[in-house]
C-alpha cells in the first residue's frame, strides 16, 4: 500500500505542469513553423554578389 495519498492538490499541480509542458511544446513548434515560413518566403535571401566582385 502506498503511503502517498493522491490529493486534489496533486491533481491541480499535475494539470498545471502538463499544461505548461504542452504550451512550451507548442511554442517550440510555432517558432519552427515561423522559421520555415520566413526562410521560404524570401525574407532572408542573401544579397546577390556581382560576378568578379
Amino acid at each position: 500500500m502506498s503511503l502517498r495519498a493522491e490529493h486534489e492538490l496533486h491533481r491541480r499541480r499535475k494539470g498545471r505542469n502538463v499544461g505548461v509542458g504542452l504550451m512550451l511544446g507548442a511554442f517550440v513548434v510555432l517558432v519552427l513553423a515561423l522559421t520555415v515560413a520566413k526562410v521560404t518566403s524570401g525574407d532572408f535571401e542573401l544579397p546577390r554578389i556581382e560576378e568578379g566582385q
Partner: protein
C-alpha cells in the same frame, strides 16, 4: 517513512492552470484577437498564414499580459466590486506577485516575438498599448479622473492598428478609422454598464462619471458620444475599408444604437429602477453586437473581392 509533500488539508490558494488563464481576461482577449485579425485582413497586403497566425497570437498574449498586470494593480478595488470580486486575485487563487511576474514576463515575450514574426513598428505599438493600459489607464487615470474610460479606451482601440501594421509595416488612415471606431464606442459601452452596476464603482471609490457627475449627466454623455460615434461609423462606409455590406450593417446598427442612447437619455432613475435598468442593460448587450458586427462587416468587405474572384 514520511512524505513531506503530503498535506492533510488542501491549499485553497493554489491556482490551477485555468486560474492563470482567467488572469489574462480571456473575454477581452477575444475582442483583441478579432479586431486585430480584421485589421490584418483589411490591409491591402497579403500575409503568410503562419506569420499572420503567430503575430495575432503574440498580440493576444500581449493583451493577456496587460490584463494580468491590470489585475495585479487593481486587486484592492476588484475585491470590493461585485462584478470583479471573483477574479483570481481577490478570490485568493493567485497571489498579486504571481500576477505581476506573469504579466511582465508575457509582456516582454509577446513584444519580442512580435518584432521577430512581423516587424518592429507592430512590436513597438504592442509595447505602447501594454504601457498605455497598465500605466496610463490602470495606474493613473482610472482612480483620478471621470475621463478614465474616455482616454483609457485608446488601449482597447489599438489592436486593429497593430493588425494593419503587421501586414503593411506602416500606418494609414483606414487603420486609424478602425481605431476611432473602438475609441468612440468605449465610453457609451462602459457608462451604460456603470449605470446598472449601481454601487460598484461608488463602493470602490473609482471616479466613474456616474459617481462624479451624477447619473443624469452620464445619460447625457452616452447620447452625445453615441451621436459622434454614429457619424463616424456611418462615414467609414465611404472609405477604402467600407462598402455596400458595411453601409447596410452600419445604418441598421447605428439606428438601433441611437434609439437605445435616446431612450437612456429620456429616462430618469425612478423609471430605470422600476424596470431594473432594462433599457440600460439591453443597450449594453447591443453595444457588444454593435462592435462585433461593424468589424465583421469590414472583414466581409475585405475578403469579398478575393472570394468573388475565386467563384467567378
Amino acid at each position: 517513512m514520511t512524505d513531506i509533500s503530503y498535506q492533510d488539508k488542501p491549499i485553497e490558494g493554489e491556482a490551477s492552470l485555468g486560474d492563470y488563464f482567467a488572469l489574462m481576461k480571456p473575454r477581452v482577449m477575444q475582442l483583441v484577437v478579432f479586431t486585430a485579425l480584421v485589421g490584418l485582413l483589411a490591409a491591402p497586403v497579403a500575409v503568410n498564414p503562419v506569420i499572420a497566425f503567430a503575430s495575432i497570437l503574440f498580440v493576444a498574449i500581449g493583451a493577456g499580459a496587460s490584463g494580468a498586470l491590470n489585475m495585479w494593480w487593481d486587486a484592492d478595488i476588484d475585491g470590493v466590486m461585485k462584478r470583479t470580486a471573483k477574479r483570481p486575485i481577490p478570490a485568493g487563487k493567485v497571489t498579486p506577485d504571481e500576477a505581476k511576474t506573469i504579466g511582465f514576463a508575457l509582456s516582454g515575450l509577446s513584444v519580442m516575438m512580435l518584432a521577430l514574426s512581423a516587424n518592429l513598428l507592430a512590436a513597438a505599438l504592442l509595447a505602447f498599448t501594454i504601457f498605455f493600459y497598465v500605466v496610463i489607464y490602470s495606474m493613473w487615470l482610472k482612480r483620478s479622473t471621470p475621463q478614465n474610460i474616455v482616454i483609457g479606451g485608446a488601449a482597447g482601440a489599438f489592436p486593429p492598428v497593430i493588425g494593419w501594421v503587421i501586414a503593411t509595416g506602416s500606418m494609414s488612415v483606414e487603420a486609424w478609422l478602425m481605431f476611432a471606431l473602438i475609441f468612440m464606442w468605449t465610453p457609451p459601452h462602459f457608462w451604460a454598464l456603470a449605470l446598472f452596476m449601481k454601487s460598484d464603482y461608488d463602493d470602490a471609490g473609482v471616479p466613474m462619471l456616474t459617481v462624479t457627475h451624477g447619473r443624469k449627466s452620464t445619460r447625457m454623455h452616452i447620447l452625445v458620444y453615441t451621436i459622434l460615434l454614429v457619424a463616424l461609423a456611418v462615414g467609414t462606409a465611404f472609405t477604402a475599408i467600407g462598402g455596400p455590406v458595411y453601409l447596410t450593417a452600419a445604418v441598421i446598427l447605428n439606428a438601433l444604437f441611437l434609439k437605445g442612447a435616446y431612450d437612456i437619455w429620456r429616462r430618469d432613475e425612478a423609471q430605470a429602477e422600476a424596470d431594473e435598468y432594462k433599457v440600460e442593460k439591453s443597450f449594453f448587450r447591443l453595444s457588444l453586437w454593435y462592435l462585433f458586427l461593424h468589424f465583421g462587416a469590414i472583414l466581409i468587405e475585405a475578403i469579398l473581392p478575393a472570394a468573388w474572384g475565386v467563384w467567378t
